[in-house]
Structures are given as structure tokens and as C-alpha cells.
């Protein structure tokens, strides 16, 4: 199944959005027990040229030094910390500066060449937190309830394809568009038909996960001049299978649903909050649900941020 959720505070001020999203995702736990994840925007406090890298490193001290050397070769590490380890690996988080966003992907590719090391996330405007396990465990593990922000998307995963590990947990992102992320419920059944043309254009895929394909597809459309709404509408035409997804781009938060409406989606809006989720039970954590709306088959929706 999978559960997806999104929330935007309209005043654009910082709120305890990590706590809100945890509550929303916890209510969707039954839709996916394998992993969960968050993309929390607006609270990183980073300057324009600063980025956070989150790197999964196998539990070996020598590897951490190798990772640091690889990053320092390209740009000096400004600050860093080691997050709690799970299984046989831990997450190394560091802050760096780059002159241009276009330098981020080559840096990540360079670090990714180190055996037993995977870059999970590189971002400026958002904090990505994702891992295997239950929502509440992950929230405790990474102190998510205390992460503040202006808007966020989140996911609980019931794996139907590709691995159950931290890397395959949602959200997914690309480095074609700055700070884009997506959470997805469903399957893109014409995956290769969508992926092949993107690869021919130079997109590099790290997994065989259809959600990664989806974020590349939208990023490509935005990069070639589509508005977010146009990109979402085109995705409904081009993607086969049952799906609903929430995507955050610099233009706004968008949601799209397949033409047959085979995956659920409801939304509610108040004076303060815009919220989307797979089920009402999740929306009920952050808004009054007397006036919820069903998202129709084939419908797309954009909330500008």
C-alpha cells in the first residue's frame, strides 16, 4: 500500500512540523511497516551556498576518515556529526559550501564511489530523514519531533519492489532541480518506458525503484520549461499503473493521482494549513476534517509555496 502525507503552514513561519508529520505518518503506519521518511523544509538555517550531506557509512572507523577525505578534497567540511547507527551502518552528516548547485551531484557521485558508502541526501532547503522501521522508532531515533519547518512531506512504505533498506525508503530526490523530493504510493508499471528516454538524456539512476524514476521525470519536465501543474498533468498521461504521489519542488507542493483513481488521496485546507494524505485519519492530526475533499482520478493539484 504505502501511506503519503504533506503539510504546508501558510504563514511560512517555523512550526513543530516534525511533530505534526510524525503524528500524520503514525496514523498511516498500517499502510506500510517497512520504512518511513520525511522531507522537512524551511528549517535548515543554511545559507544559499551551504548544503547538508547525509552519508550512510558501514560501521568501520577507517571508512569515515575516507569519506571525510573525499569530501574535503572537493570542499572543506564546515561542521559534522555522526548520527545513531542502525544495523551495520551509521549516518554521517556534514555541512559544506559550494559555489554552484551544479557541483553537488559530482561531489555525491565521487563519494558514492567508495565501497560500503552511500550518499542518502544532499540538500539546502530541507532535511531528509528516512530509515527502516516504524514511524515512532524513526522519530525517536532522529529526534524528528523537534525538527522545525514551514512545510513537509512524508511516507510510510510497504515495499512491493526494490529493497527494504534505508536507501530505498522514501522520499526520493534528484540533483537536477534543487531541493526536489517525492513520496509515492503505488506502482509505475511502464517504468522502463519512462526511464529509457530519461537515461538517453543523461539522467543517472541509482536504483530500480519507480519512485526515483518519477522524481527524475518531473525534474526533467521542470528543467525543460513545464510549470509544475503541466508536469503533473503530463505525468498522469505518461505513467501507467496505480499511483498517487506528492512532490515538493521550488514552485510548490503538487499531488497527482492515476486516471483510474486506484490509490487514495484526500486533502483539507484551513486558514492556516494545507494538508494532503492517503487517509482522513492522517489529516485529522493537523486539521479539522469536516470539509475534506477526495482527490479525483487523474486529478492534479498544486499548492504554491
Amino acid at each position: 500500500m504505502c501511506g503519503i502525507a504533506g503539510i504546508v503552514y501558510k504563514d511560512k513561519k517555523l512550526h513543530n512540523i516534525g511533530n505534526d508529520m510524525t503524528n500524520m505518518l503514525h496514523e498511516l503506519q498500517h499502510r506500510g511497516p517497512d520504512s518511513a521518511g520525511y522531507a522537512i523544509y524551511g528549517g535548515t538555517g543554511l545559507k544559499k551556498n551551504e548544503y547538508i550531506l547525509k552519508i550512510q557509512v558501514k560501521e568501520e572507523q577507517r571508512l569515515l576518515e575516507t569519506v571525510k577525505d573525499a569530501v574535503n578534497m572537493i570542499t572543506p567540511i564546515q561542521s559534522d556529526e555522526v548520527l545513531p547507527s542502525v544495523g551495520d551502518s551509521f549516518i554521517y552528516k556534514c555541512k559544506i559550501e559550494l559555489d554552484n548547485f551544479s557541483e553537488l551531484k559530482p561531489l555525491i557521485s565521487q563519494v558514492d564511489t567508495i565501497d560500503d558508502v552511500i550518499v542518502l541526501n544532499g540538500s539546502q532547503a530541507f532535511e531528509m530523514i528516512k530509515d527502516v522501521g516504524s514511524v515512532l522508532d524513526i522519530a525517536d531515533r532522529y529526534d524528528v519531533r523537534n525538527v522545525r519547518g514551514t512545510h513537509a512531506i512524508g511516507h510510510t512504505r510497504f515495499s512491493t519492489e526494490s529493497g527494504v533498506d534505508r536507501y530505498h525508503a522514501h522520499p526520493f530526490q534528484t540533483y537536477i532541480i534543487r531541493d526536489i523530493s517525492v513520496v509515492h504510493n503505488g506502482q509505475i508499471t511502464n517504468y522502463w518506458k519512462v526511464r529509457d528516454p530519461l537515461e538517453r538524456k543523461g539522467h543517472i539512476f541509482e536504483t530500480f525503484n519507480d519512485t526515483e524514476c518519477l522524481v527524475h521525470y518531473i525534474a526533467d519536465k521542470l528543467d525543460t520549461g513545464y510549470s509544475l501543474e503541466e508536469a503533473l498533468e503530463q505525468s498522469v498521461e505518461d505513467m501507467d499503473g496505480p499511483f498517487s504521489y506528492i512532490i515538493r519542488t521550488p514552485q510548490g507542493i503538487g499531488i497527482a493521482k492515476d486516471k483510474l483513481g486506484l490509490r487514495p488521496g484526500v486533502m483539507a485546507e484551513t486558514d492556516d494549513v494545507f494538508a494532503i494524505a492517503s487517509e482522513e485519519v492522517s489529516l485529522g492530526q493537523v486539521v479539522d476534517t469536516h470539509n475534506i475533499e477526495q482527490i479525483s482520478p487523474g486529478e492534479v493539484m498544486v499548492y504554491e509555496i
Binding site: 483510474l260 476534517t289 469536516h290 477526495q294 479525483s296 482520478p297
Partner: protein
């Protein structure tokens, strides 16, 4: 004499526990009140003895599925497939409902006061579905019998592959599905609509009843593909 009401607090019970308690008390003349449902799935599933059940809040998926003879009132919204496979009795949703409301019902009545999602009354065989607002895409798909009354608009492909049954629509019809056609309701149809709608608080004038379109199968012969 005070009324005998069994109160169940859904915030402290699992759906299985709630449904077991509802079944234990059904058929004994008691009223059952379920509080704090918090959009829980599968509430009041498979209750086959008569019971008067009120749910105070929104419910999740498959509320009232496979019930036979109970009267269920939901003071909130319902998720997907409310009233699925109902055989007799009544389910009233005071708010909105998701996709597949009244899916596959064999009898009884499902009423949703506000709008519903897609595929309302999918493969319904008998019984009545009343929607106070709009109904989405493929309403009445594969309908095999019974009657649906929609006071608002309906989405594309209404009554796709319908083989039996009838759908009354007061608002706009985006498009008809395969094997569906629109006919004019008879005076007898309108009288029946007036009476049945009034039973659930939808009091329509004759002028308003004139706005209804009746959708029926083009052919009642079974077909394979199209």
C-alpha cells in the same frame, strides 16, 4: 424508562474488539454508540443481527461491510467502500465518503449526505444508494441491479458496462459509459423518488424532481468486452 445504550470507546479498543462487542450485543434490542472512531478501518464489519448503531465521528475503510439488517449512522465522514456488500439494513453517512461507497450491495440502503469519490455502487446487485452531493468517475460501473440516486453531478463514464439497475442524476453528467443510456423518468419514478428521498430528509419539489435524468442499460444482454 431510560434507554439501554452500550457505549464503546474506539480509542481504547481494536477494530476486532469493537466488532466482537457489537456482535455480542446485536439482536438484543440495545442501542450501540461507538465513540472516538478516529477514522478507524473495518468498524462494524459483518454484523448480521439487527442493531441500532451510531458512530460518533469519521470512519476509515470498509465501515459496515457485509452487514445484514443493522441500522448504522455515521456522524462524520467515511473512507473507501462504506457499506460494501450490504445485504439489508441502512447505513447513513452524515459527511462525505471515499471511493466505492455501496460497492457490491445486495440490498438495504446506503445514504451519504455529502459528496463521494469514484466508482460509487460498483457491481451493486440490488438495494438503494442515495448521494446528497456529487459522485465521481465511473459511478455505477458494472452495475447489475438496484437503484442509485445522486442529487449532485457525476463524473465521467457513468454506469460503465451497466447490465441491470437504474441511476437517477439530478445534476450534470460528464459522460456515459459503455451500454448506458439516458431516458426520461416517468411520473411513477418521480413519485417513488420523492417518497424515498423524503425518508432521509431530502425534501424535493416536483420542479426539482423534473431535473432528474434516469440512466439505464442500453441492452440487458450479457456482453464480453467492447
Amino acid at each position: 424508562m431510560s434507554e439501554d445504550i452500550i457505549e464503546l470507546d474506539a480509542s481504547t479498543l481494536t477494530p476486532r474488539e469493537i466488532n466482537s462487542k457489537v456482535k455480542e450485543n446485536a439482536g438484543k434490542g440495545s442501542k450501540i454508540l461507538i465513540k472516538n472512531p478516529n477514522a478507524m478501518h473495518y468498524l462494524v464489519a459483518g454484523v448480521v443481527d439487527e442493531a441500532d448503531i451510531k458512530i460518533d465521528g469519521s470512519v476509515g475503510y470498509f465501515a459496515g461491510t457485509m452487514c445484514d439488517g443493522s441500522k448504522i449512522k455515521i456522524n462524520g465522514n467515511a473512507g473507501w467502500f462504506v457499506g460494501d456488500n450490504l445485504t439489508d439494513g441502512e447505513i447513513i453517512v452524515e459527511g462525505t465518503a471515499g471511493d466505492g461507497a455501496g460497492q457490491g450491495i445486495y440490498g438495504g440502503t446506503v445514504v451519504v449526505r455529502k459528496s463521494v469519490g469514484s466508482r460509487t455502487g460498483e457491481i451493486m446487485k440490488n438495494g438503494t444508494i442515495i448521494i446528497g452531493g456529487n459522485s465521481g468517475f465511473m459511478t455505477g460501473i458494472f452495475m447489475m441491479g438496484g437503484r442509485m440516486i445522486i442529487l449532485g453531478d457525476v463524473g465521467e463514464d457513468l454506469a460503465e458496462s451497466i447490465i441491470r439497475g437504474e441511476i437517477y442524476v439530478k445534476g450534470k453528467i460528464s459522460s456515459l459509459g459503455y451500454n448506458a443510456k439516458i431516458v426520461k423518468p416517468t411520473d411513477e419514478d418521480k413519485e417513488t423518488l420523492k417518497k424515498d428521498l423524503a425518508k432521509y430528509g431530502f425534501n424535493l419539489s416536483y420542479k426539482e424532481l423534473d431535473e432528474f435524468k434516469k440512466v439505464v442499460p442500453e441492452s440487458k444482454r450479457p456482453f464480453y468486452g467492447h
